[in-house]
């Protein structure tokens, strides 16, 4: 569909609240309806109105795993987006901009960061070009980028005039016009846009109609005014019978939880976790196989202190219970996590990492919480920490987390990040029927140990796991306490009981390390026999997979070891992989290399190369490929900091 017929990177930018998301959603859906695969990435400021946001939609015939840094077609309708992204447009690519923005000085863009302004100014001055969009557009044309000036006002005025709607109504179709310009330039059948509009605005026929009129008007304008076939890229639909969903990371996690039978979740609003809980709340009356309705209670709490403790209270009754949060909220949950640990409560904590520390960068991505997830809370208690690398894993891991929690009666921290949360992809429907639900050991009246009517909830066992009684269960009465306790749950400071209880809880972690399968612990991708070994975790997976393909094209065999279970760390499974690793390249979206530290701590093996990115943006296959090429050529430093000033 591009000049090499496989891969198109489209980007749209604009102020928050101006409908960029809707426009991108429309374009993405139109492509998906045409049978194409896509990978969508959303970048935005922590702001409601006015600050810059942009959306990448990358489209291909085959499934995609990450975004692309170089853009083939950039769509803008105000000067700031034009200025921020024009440098990302590939040679031979195109830029759509408003005719009125053809000569706007950089200093007239109040939200354009000073650093960006300064960099652009220096560059333009060096080339003897004016410090304005005129200079940027001229420079782009010099590089072989097509620029398309579109009189957006003219089109929306024509829309108001021809279809006799108020100008304000026509103006709201601006995003549709911008998308339609793109599709027209790409020679994409407008029928796909019509179908997309029907899905984007369900049950709103008037809105669909006006937007469809905008599409038709725009296509006419492009055919009349822009030279035909000048722009070399084409979007060519694929015929497919495959059933696909268009879904993002927050939704994938939510669906995994529903499938797993989660019945209770708490949350306090926090980016980028909230969308998951909101989505769940919108689906709190779920259908069951028997046709009955099942309830999922979603509670918005007063803070994360309540979120973790309320979810714990629910878990004590036997409900599959979780809370979802991000870094600042997780920090507040630390004490509650310890209570869960010492009371052996099955609780799932979904942690969407964002740029830290403190408030950090609320709407940007980072893998900065790995060590925090492993160590949060004072004292020592067992926990499981797992991380998903893509939307499929997000779904299955979200479900599996409850099995771990109930099997081992401990907190399970499911790590995701902002990049994954806001990734939109075409996927096949998840195989709910392939899931297996394990509720763990639950008290049944019979030969259990009792004393004075109390049930020995924490009775010592060889595995460390004792059947748990659920609040309300007849005969299961016991106590629970954040204090060290006897097998009946009564506070004790006895040194021998203390030792027994510490050992009992520790045995559960050892059991989890033994029982959890290799496939759940790690995945190996690429050339399995290759010595060039990349070790990574979480959402970097997508970029690395693409880089592996590019390396294969270069004739460089390489493999990725994706660590999925971070705690208990899969030490034994890693050892043979590490022995054959030359070089060992660790890739992480943080500054200090937290997985590298963990690997060294657990296996004694340090990284040969550390590739990190900590600017709050996800890694692309392109930049990783460059970094790996450098490592392979022996020209790379031991530490590679991936940088991209224009994303």
């Amino acid at each position: 569909m591009t000049r090499h017929q496989t891969d198109l990177a489209w980007r749209i930018g604009g102020p928050q609240g101006s409908g960029v998301d809707t426009a991108a959603g429309m374009f993405a859906r139109a492509c998906a309806i045409g049978g194409l695969h896509l990978f969508g990435r959303r970048e935005y400021y922590s702001n409601i109105m006015g600050r810059h946001s942009y959306y990448d939609v990358r489209v291909a015939r085959q499934a995609l795993t990450c975004h692309r840094d170089t853009v083939d077609l950039l769509t803008t309708f105000e000067p700031e987006s034009l200025s921020r992204h024009i440098l990302a447009v590939a040679k031979g690519g195109g830029v759509i901009h408003d005719s009125d923005d053809a000569d706007t000085p950089l200093e007239r863009m109040p939200f354009l960061d000073e650093r960006v302004q300064e960099d652009l100014r220096v560059d333009l001055e060096e080339h003897g070009l004016p410090c304005s969009t005129a200079g940027l557009l001229a420079k782009a044309r010099q590089r072989g980028v097509d620029t398309f000036a579109i009189p957006f006002d003219e089109i929306t005025h024509a829309l108001a005039r021809e279809f006799r709607v108020p100008q304000a109504v026509a103006d709201r179709a601006l995003n549709t016009v911008a998308v339609a310009v793109s599709c027209a330039l790409l020679h994409y059948d407008p029928a796909y846009l019509a179908k997309a509009l029907a899905k984007v605005f369900p049950r709103r026929p008037q809105l669909i109609e006006i937007n469809m009129q905008a599409v038709e008007l725009t296509y006419k304008f492009v055919r009349r005014n822009l030279p035909a076939n000048d722009f070399p890229f084409r979007l060519v639909p694929e015929s497919t019978r495959e059933r696909r969903l268009l879904i993002n990371g927050n939704q994938a996690v939510a669906l995994g939880k529903l499938a797993a039978g989660m019945t209770f979740q708490t949350y306090y609003p926090i980016s980028p976790a909230t969308d998951e809980s909101i989505y769940l709340e919108a689906h709190e009356a779920v259908q069951t196989v028997g046709g009955e309705e099942g309830s999922v209670i979603i509670v918005q709490t007063e803070d994360e202190l309540a979120a973790v403790t309320m979810a714990s209270g629910a878990a004590l009754t036997g409900a599959r219970s979780a809370t979802a949060t991000s870094g600042p909220g997780f920090s507040l949950m630390a004490e509650g996590l310890g209570w869960v640990g010492i009371n052996e409560v099955p609780l799932v904590v979904t942690l969407y990492q964002r740029g830290g520390p403190s408030t950090g960068m609320p709407t940007r991505s980072e893998q900065g919480d790995l060590q925090c997830a492993i160590h949060a809370g004072h004292g020592e208690f067992p926990r499981i920490v797992m991380a998903s690398g893509d939307l499929h894993e997000a779904f299955y891991d979200a479900a599996q987390a409850f099995n771990y929690a109930e099997r081992y009666q401990m907190p399970v921290i499911h790590l995701l990040d902002k990049a994954l949360a806001s990734t939109t992809q075409t996927v096949q429907p998840f195989a709910v029927e392939s899931l297996h639900i394990e509720r763990g050991e639950i008290y049944a009246p019979g030969n259990s140990q009792h004393h004075n009517g109390s049930f020995a909830r924490f009775a010592p066992t060889a595995s460390g796991i004792s059947p748990r009684a659920l609040l309300g269960q007849p005969g299961g009465m016991h106590w629970l306490t954040g204090g060290e306790h006897t097998m009946y749950g009564r506070v004790t400071e006895d040194p021998v009981v203390r030792e027994r209880m510490m050992e009992k809880r520790a045995r559960k972690l050892a059991l989890a390390a033994r029982e959890i399968t290799v496939a759940e612990k790690l995945h190996v991708y690429g050339n399995r026999g290759a010595a060039f070994t990349i070790v990574s975790w979480g959402s970097n997976k997508g970029g690395i997979l693409e880089a592996l393909e590019r390396l294969a094209d270069d004739g460089i065999p390489a493999r990725l070891v994706q660590v999925r279970l971070l705690w208990p760390f899969p030490m034994e499974e890693m050892m043979p992989l590490l022995e054959a690793a030359t070089p060992l390249v660790i890739v992480e979206s943080n500054f200090s290399g937290q997985l590298a530290q963990l690997l060294r701590e657990q296996t004694g093996r340090g990284s040969d190369y550390l590739v990190v990115k900590y600017n709050g943006r996800p890694m692309s296959g392109q930049e990783l490929h460059r970094a790996f090429k450098g490592v392979h050529a022996g020209t790379s430093e031991r530490r590679v900091d991936l940088r991209n000033p224009y994303e």
Partner: protein, 325 residues
């Protein structure tokens, strides 16, 4: 609210054989005794009751009641209790804790629980000091008072828990005194029977650290008439009820008389049921309105897998929503 009852429970059903580590003469004993009497009188089976405790001397109360007893984190008792009640609405849920627990470190939960009108009972042991950390000023110690451990009179003011409960939306508010056990037991029973969020403020001496609000002080030994300071408002014919369907005028007049009682201190301290609102839906009712199956299959009891471990959730309708076309 009480769900299932079984007559003829005896006090023995609600006593444990474990030794108690409160100081001799502690007001906690009176409250515990009243609590045991209340549960006995309601005829509840012990496994139907979950008592959540905060941190502090008062937070240990669940250890002395043979029900499900959960000793939680400092300040978080209401959040734990809420989670359990919402997940299993058939449980009779009580939360107990001290003034520091509920009004200091847990004040956010005190207020926000009030917004939900959940069917649970919160008993606050109010002795104006942090006992277990040796007598620091608690949020209910009035400005300028100096209890035994304080190096100086406190320069922080007191919060009025009754007023805070009103402002937060508690639909049943009462006050008792730790050493009027029979009265307190009745009060706790009424609180548990109330089908919404009930707050029981219990005035209690701390014989070790609060040398101002002592048993003798509550008994009015220092007063000329040698008359107990606490008196039950019922004796005055006080009517605390805002009936269902009451208009604003009635509600405001009831709240006005409540405020007068809540502010009274000194020689005459009112106890008893001070406010009872029957005009507000419970949180559980609100959930059931949204999700009709909540009552029949609440989170704790929903069957999430069949006998072979296959999920019972059917995502087909959601997949259709997310489908490309």
């Amino acid at each position: 609210m009480v769900t299932k009852t079984l007559p003829q429970r005896t006090m023995k059903d609600y006593q444990v054989k474990h030794s108690n580590d409160w100081c001799p003469g502690c007001g906690d004993f009176g409250i515990l005794n009243a609590l045991q009497q209340a549960l006995t009188g309601l005829g509840l089976l012990p496994h139907q009751v979950a008592i959540f405790g905060g941190i502090g001397c008062s937070g240990k109360a669940p250890y002395y009641v043979p029900a499900y007893g959960i000793h939680t984190l400092h300040g978080r008792v209401l959040a734990y209790a809420t989670g359990a009640k919402l997940a299993n609405p058939e449980l009779t849920v009580l939360a107990v804790g001290g003034d520091g627990d509920g009004l200091g470190i847990g004040a956010g939960h005190f207020v926000n629980t009030g917004r939900r009108n959940i069917d649970l009972t919160y008993i606050l042991f109010n002795n104006a000091v942090y006992g277990l950390t040796k007598g620091q000023a608690a949020p209910t110690l009035p400005l300028g008072l100096q209890t035994r451990s304080l190096p100086e009179p406190t320069i922080q003011g007191a919060v009025n828990p009754l007023m805070l409960a009103l402002a937060s939306g508690y639909t049943w508010i009462g006050r008792g005194y730790a050493f009027q056990v029979r009265h307190l037991a009745e009060l706790i029973q009424k609180a548990i029977r109330h089908p919404g969020l009930a707050y029981v403020d219990v005035l209690q001496p701390c014989p070790t650290y609060n040398d101002l609000y002592t048993k003798d002080w509550f008994a009015g030994k220092d007063l000329e008439l040698d008359e107990a300071r606490v008196y039950d408002v019922e004796q005055e014919g006080y009517d605390p009820v805002i009936p269902e369907g009451a208009d604003d005028e009635i509600a405001i007049s009831k709240m006005t008389q409540f405020i007068a009682k809540a502010q009274a201190w000194g020689d005459h301290i009112p106890i008893g049921v001070l406010l009872e609102t029957r005009a507000l839906s419970s949180f559980e009712q609100r959930i059931a309105t949204r999700i009709p199956s909540y009552r029949s299959a609440p989170p704790a009891r929903r069957l999430v897998a069949d006998e072979r471990g296959h999920p019972t959730t059917d995502l087909r309708a959601i997949f259709a929503e997310l489908a490309i076309t």
